[in-house]
Amino acid sequence: MRLYETTFIVNSQADDASLDRQVKAISDLISNNGGRIISEDRIGTRRLAYQIKGLSQGYYTSIIFEGATTLLPILDRHYRLEEPYIRYLTILYEGDVAVVKEEAETTAEKPEEKQVIAEVAGVEEKPEEALEQPAEAPVVDAAEEPVVTETASPIENLVGAPEEEEAEKGEVEPPPQEPDVTRFDDDDEL
Protein backbone atom coordinates (compact mmCIF):
# COMPACT_ATOMS: atom_id res chain seq x y z
CA MET A 1 0.00 0.00 0.00
CA ARG A 2 1.37 3.33 -1.02
CA LEU A 3 0.10 6.84 -0.98
CA TYR A 4 -0.98 8.32 -4.25
CA GLU A 5 -2.41 11.56 -5.35
CA THR A 6 -4.72 11.69 -8.29
CA THR A 7 -5.83 14.96 -9.77
CA PHE A 8 -8.24 15.31 -12.62
CA ILE A 9 -10.00 18.00 -14.55
CA VAL A 10 -13.58 17.70 -15.68
CA ASN A 11 -15.59 20.08 -17.78
CA SER A 12 -16.67 22.86 -15.47
CA GLN A 13 -19.60 23.73 -17.65
CA ALA A 14 -21.44 20.64 -16.52
CA ASP A 15 -24.06 21.16 -13.85
CA ASP A 16 -23.26 20.62 -10.20
CA ALA A 17 -24.95 17.25 -10.06
CA SER A 18 -22.91 15.72 -12.84
CA LEU A 19 -19.71 17.28 -11.53
CA ASP A 20 -20.51 15.63 -8.26
CA ARG A 21 -21.19 12.35 -9.96
CA GLN A 22 -17.91 12.46 -11.87
CA VAL A 23 -15.92 13.15 -8.73
CA LYS A 24 -17.77 10.51 -6.83
CA ALA A 25 -17.18 7.99 -9.59
CA ILE A 26 -13.46 8.27 -8.98
CA SER A 27 -13.62 8.12 -5.22
CA ASP A 28 -15.96 5.15 -5.38
CA LEU A 29 -13.68 3.45 -7.84
CA ILE A 30 -10.79 3.87 -5.43
CA SER A 31 -12.62 2.61 -2.39
CA ASN A 32 -14.31 -0.22 -4.27
CA ASN A 33 -10.94 -1.52 -5.34
CA GLY A 34 -9.34 -1.71 -1.95
CA GLY A 35 -8.09 1.84 -1.75
CA ARG A 36 -8.62 4.16 1.15
CA ILE A 37 -9.27 7.81 0.55
CA ILE A 38 -7.30 10.06 2.82
CA SER A 39 -8.38 13.40 1.56
CA GLU A 40 -10.48 14.76 -1.20
CA ASP A 41 -9.79 18.30 -2.21
CA ARG A 42 -12.19 19.91 -4.60
CA ILE A 43 -10.07 22.71 -5.86
CA GLY A 44 -12.89 23.93 -8.02
CA THR A 45 -13.12 25.74 -11.28
CA ARG A 46 -10.03 27.47 -12.54
CA ARG A 47 -8.71 28.78 -15.79
CA LEU A 48 -6.65 26.38 -17.83
CA ALA A 49 -3.22 27.64 -18.83
CA TYR A 50 -3.97 26.53 -22.35
CA GLN A 51 -7.06 25.27 -24.08
CA ILE A 52 -7.81 21.60 -23.92
CA LYS A 53 -10.44 20.25 -26.27
CA GLY A 54 -11.61 23.77 -26.83
CA LEU A 55 -12.19 24.40 -23.15
CA SER A 56 -10.54 27.19 -21.26
CA GLN A 57 -11.86 26.36 -17.81
CA GLY A 58 -11.85 23.18 -15.85
CA TYR A 59 -13.03 21.79 -12.57
CA TYR A 60 -10.10 20.42 -10.59
CA THR A 61 -10.31 17.74 -7.97
CA SER A 62 -7.42 16.19 -6.13
CA ILE A 63 -7.73 12.99 -4.14
CA ILE A 64 -5.03 11.59 -1.93
CA PHE A 65 -5.49 7.93 -1.29
CA GLU A 66 -3.74 4.84 -0.13
CA GLY A 67 -3.91 1.82 -2.34
CA ALA A 68 -2.23 -1.11 -3.96
CA THR A 69 -0.40 -0.72 -7.24
CA THR A 70 -3.06 -2.80 -8.94
CA LEU A 71 -5.50 0.02 -8.41
CA LEU A 72 -3.64 2.35 -10.73
CA PRO A 73 -4.33 0.64 -14.06
CA ILE A 74 -7.99 0.44 -13.09
CA LEU A 75 -8.05 4.12 -12.37
CA ASP A 76 -6.17 4.93 -15.53
CA ARG A 77 -8.56 2.88 -17.59
CA HIS A 78 -11.53 4.64 -16.12
CA TYR A 79 -10.04 8.04 -16.89
CA ARG A 80 -9.33 7.09 -20.46
CA LEU A 81 -12.67 5.54 -21.18
CA GLU A 82 -14.91 8.11 -19.61
CA GLU A 83 -15.45 11.24 -21.55
CA PRO A 84 -15.71 14.00 -18.95
CA TYR A 85 -12.14 13.73 -17.72
CA ILE A 86 -10.16 16.15 -19.78
CA ARG A 87 -6.89 15.71 -17.90
CA TYR A 88 -5.73 13.48 -15.12
CA LEU A 89 -2.54 12.77 -13.27
CA THR A 90 -1.83 10.11 -10.69
CA ILE A 91 1.43 10.39 -8.84
CA LEU A 92 3.08 8.97 -5.80
CA TYR A 93 2.33 11.38 -3.01
CA GLU A 94 5.49 12.64 -1.41
CA GLY A 95 4.11 15.41 0.69
CA ASP A 96 3.71 15.40 4.41
CA VAL A 97 1.15 12.81 5.24
CA ALA A 98 0.61 14.05 8.77
CA VAL A 99 -0.92 17.26 7.49
CA VAL A 100 -3.11 15.45 5.03
CA LYS A 101 -4.31 13.02 7.66
CA GLU A 102 -5.19 15.79 10.03
CA GLU A 103 -7.36 17.23 7.33
CA ALA A 104 -8.81 13.84 6.72
CA GLU A 105 -9.73 13.45 10.36
CA THR A 106 -11.83 16.55 10.24
CA THR A 107 -13.74 15.01 7.38
CA ALA A 108 -13.50 11.56 8.89
CA GLU A 109 -17.03 10.56 8.07
CA LYS A 110 -16.36 10.45 4.36
CA PRO A 111 -13.95 7.52 4.08
CA GLU A 112 -16.02 5.43 6.43
CA GLU A 113 -19.07 6.05 4.43
CA LYS A 114 -17.24 4.88 1.33
CA GLN A 115 -16.03 1.73 2.97
CA VAL A 116 -19.60 0.79 3.64
CA ILE A 117 -20.28 1.13 -0.04
CA ALA A 118 -17.30 -1.09 -0.77
CA GLU A 119 -18.69 -3.77 1.52
CA VAL A 120 -22.03 -3.65 -0.13
CA ALA A 121 -20.40 -4.02 -3.49
CA GLY A 122 -18.92 -7.28 -2.26
CA VAL A 123 -15.34 -6.36 -3.02
CA GLU A 124 -12.80 -7.89 -0.71
CA GLU A 125 -12.31 -4.79 1.34
CA LYS A 126 -11.34 -5.13 4.96
CA PRO A 127 -12.94 -2.24 6.74
CA GLU A 128 -11.45 -3.25 10.09
CA GLU A 129 -7.93 -3.13 8.81
CA ALA A 130 -8.59 0.05 6.95
CA LEU A 131 -10.07 1.69 9.98
CA GLU A 132 -7.15 0.70 12.15
CA GLN A 133 -4.62 2.33 9.94
CA PRO A 134 -5.51 5.95 10.51
CA ALA A 135 -4.72 5.40 14.17
CA GLU A 136 -1.27 3.92 13.53
CA ALA A 137 -0.07 5.92 10.63
CA PRO A 138 -0.06 9.44 12.08
CA VAL A 139 2.34 8.29 14.79
CA VAL A 140 4.97 7.50 12.21
CA ASP A 141 4.34 10.59 10.19
CA ALA A 142 4.12 12.95 13.11
CA ALA A 143 7.90 12.94 13.32
CA GLU A 144 8.16 14.78 10.06
CA GLU A 145 7.82 18.50 10.05
CA PRO A 146 4.20 19.48 9.77
CA VAL A 147 4.59 21.73 6.80
CA VAL A 148 3.05 21.26 3.42
CA THR A 149 0.18 23.53 2.84
CA GLU A 150 1.93 26.35 4.63
CA THR A 151 5.17 25.77 2.80
CA ALA A 152 4.29 27.97 -0.06
CA SER A 153 3.77 31.07 2.01
CA PRO A 154 7.23 31.56 3.54
CA ILE A 155 8.84 31.32 0.17
CA GLU A 156 6.42 33.72 -1.36
CA ASN A 157 7.06 36.22 1.36
CA LEU A 158 10.79 35.98 1.10
CA VAL A 159 11.02 35.81 -2.60
CA GLY A 160 8.09 38.07 -3.18
CA ALA A 161 9.66 41.46 -2.87
CA PRO A 162 12.35 41.40 -5.52
CA GLU A 163 10.72 39.10 -8.01
CA GLU A 164 7.19 40.31 -7.97
CA GLU A 165 8.40 43.62 -9.20
CA GLU A 166 10.19 41.86 -11.96
CA ALA A 167 7.12 39.94 -12.95
CA GLU A 168 5.11 43.09 -13.38
CA LYS A 169 7.79 44.71 -15.42
CA GLY A 170 8.21 41.58 -17.43
CA GLU A 171 5.01 42.08 -19.28
CA VAL A 172 6.44 45.11 -20.94
CA GLU A 173 10.07 44.15 -21.21
CA PRO A 174 11.98 40.95 -20.48
CA PRO A 175 12.98 40.61 -16.81
CA PRO A 176 16.51 41.73 -16.05
CA GLN A 177 17.48 38.20 -15.13
CA GLU A 178 16.67 36.85 -18.52
CA PRO A 179 19.86 37.74 -20.44
CA ASP A 180 21.87 35.66 -18.00
CA VAL A 181 20.13 32.57 -19.21
CA THR A 182 22.26 32.31 -22.29
CA ARG A 183 25.54 33.29 -20.68
CA PHE A 184 27.51 30.30 -19.62
CA ASP A 185 30.40 32.14 -18.03
CA ASP A 186 27.89 33.09 -15.40
CA ASP A 187 27.75 29.63 -13.98
CA ASP A 188 28.75 29.49 -10.35
CA GLU A 189 29.93 25.96 -10.82
CA LEU A 190 32.49 26.75 -13.46
Binding site: E145, L158, V181
Partner: protein, 76 residues
Protein backbone atom coordinates in the same frame (compact mmCIF):
# COMPACT_ATOMS: atom_id res chain seq x y z
CA UNK B 1 26.54 43.25 -12.51
CA UNK B 2 29.25 41.10 -13.99
CA UNK B 3 32.00 42.24 -11.66
CA UNK B 4 34.12 39.34 -10.52
CA UNK B 5 32.84 37.84 -7.30
CA UNK B 6 29.19 36.98 -7.12
CA UNK B 7 27.55 36.24 -3.88
CA UNK B 8 26.51 32.66 -3.51
CA UNK B 9 22.77 32.34 -3.76
CA UNK B 10 20.96 30.28 -1.20
CA UNK B 11 18.39 27.74 -2.18
CA UNK B 12 15.05 29.18 -1.15
CA UNK B 13 13.59 25.79 -0.50
CA UNK B 14 16.42 24.76 1.77
CA UNK B 15 16.20 28.04 3.57
CA UNK B 16 12.57 27.40 4.39
CA UNK B 17 13.08 23.65 4.80
CA UNK B 18 10.53 22.76 2.21
CA UNK B 19 10.61 19.16 1.19
CA UNK B 20 7.59 18.80 -0.96
CA UNK B 21 6.96 20.99 -3.95
CA UNK B 22 3.33 20.91 -4.93
CA UNK B 23 2.66 21.03 -8.65
CA UNK B 24 -0.70 22.64 -7.95
CA UNK B 25 0.85 25.66 -6.34
CA UNK B 26 0.90 27.94 -9.32
CA UNK B 27 2.00 31.06 -7.50
CA UNK B 28 5.08 29.42 -6.09
CA UNK B 29 6.11 27.83 -9.37
CA UNK B 30 5.57 31.09 -11.21
CA UNK B 31 8.62 32.48 -9.44
CA UNK B 32 10.82 29.92 -11.11
CA UNK B 33 9.71 30.20 -14.69
CA UNK B 34 10.27 32.96 -17.19
CA UNK B 35 7.60 34.97 -18.93
CA UNK B 36 7.67 32.50 -21.74
CA UNK B 37 7.14 29.63 -19.40
CA UNK B 38 10.68 28.32 -19.39
CA UNK B 39 12.14 26.93 -16.21
CA UNK B 40 14.75 29.29 -14.77
CA UNK B 41 18.09 27.51 -14.52
CA UNK B 42 19.65 26.71 -11.22
CA UNK B 43 22.56 29.05 -11.73
CA UNK B 44 20.14 31.93 -11.86
CA UNK B 45 17.59 30.93 -9.29
CA UNK B 46 20.22 29.63 -6.89
CA UNK B 47 18.29 26.49 -6.06
CA UNK B 48 20.20 23.47 -4.87
CA UNK B 49 20.30 20.47 -7.15
CA UNK B 50 17.88 18.49 -5.08
CA UNK B 51 15.24 21.15 -5.01
CA UNK B 52 15.74 22.15 -8.61
CA UNK B 53 15.02 18.56 -9.55
CA UNK B 54 11.86 18.52 -7.51
CA UNK B 55 10.81 21.89 -8.80
CA UNK B 56 11.37 20.84 -12.39
CA UNK B 57 9.26 17.78 -11.81
CA UNK B 58 6.53 19.90 -10.27
CA UNK B 59 6.57 22.42 -13.09
CA UNK B 60 6.31 19.69 -15.69
CA UNK B 61 3.42 18.15 -13.85
CA UNK B 62 1.83 21.55 -13.60
CA UNK B 63 2.13 21.98 -17.33
CA UNK B 64 0.44 18.70 -17.96
CA UNK B 65 -2.43 19.69 -15.72
CA UNK B 66 -2.79 23.04 -17.46
CA UNK B 67 -1.79 24.91 -14.33
CA UNK B 68 1.21 26.34 -16.14
CA UNK B 69 1.58 26.93 -19.83
CA UNK B 70 4.02 24.92 -21.89
CA UNK B 71 4.85 28.04 -23.82
CA UNK B 72 3.22 31.39 -23.76
CA UNK B 73 3.32 34.45 -25.92
CA UNK B 74 5.03 37.50 -24.57
CA UNK B 75 2.04 38.39 -22.47
CA UNK B 76 -0.40 36.49 -20.39
Amino acid sequence: MNSGKRRRKICRFCENSINYIDYKDERMMRRFITERGKIIPRRISGNCARHQRKLTQAIKRGRHMAILAYASESFR
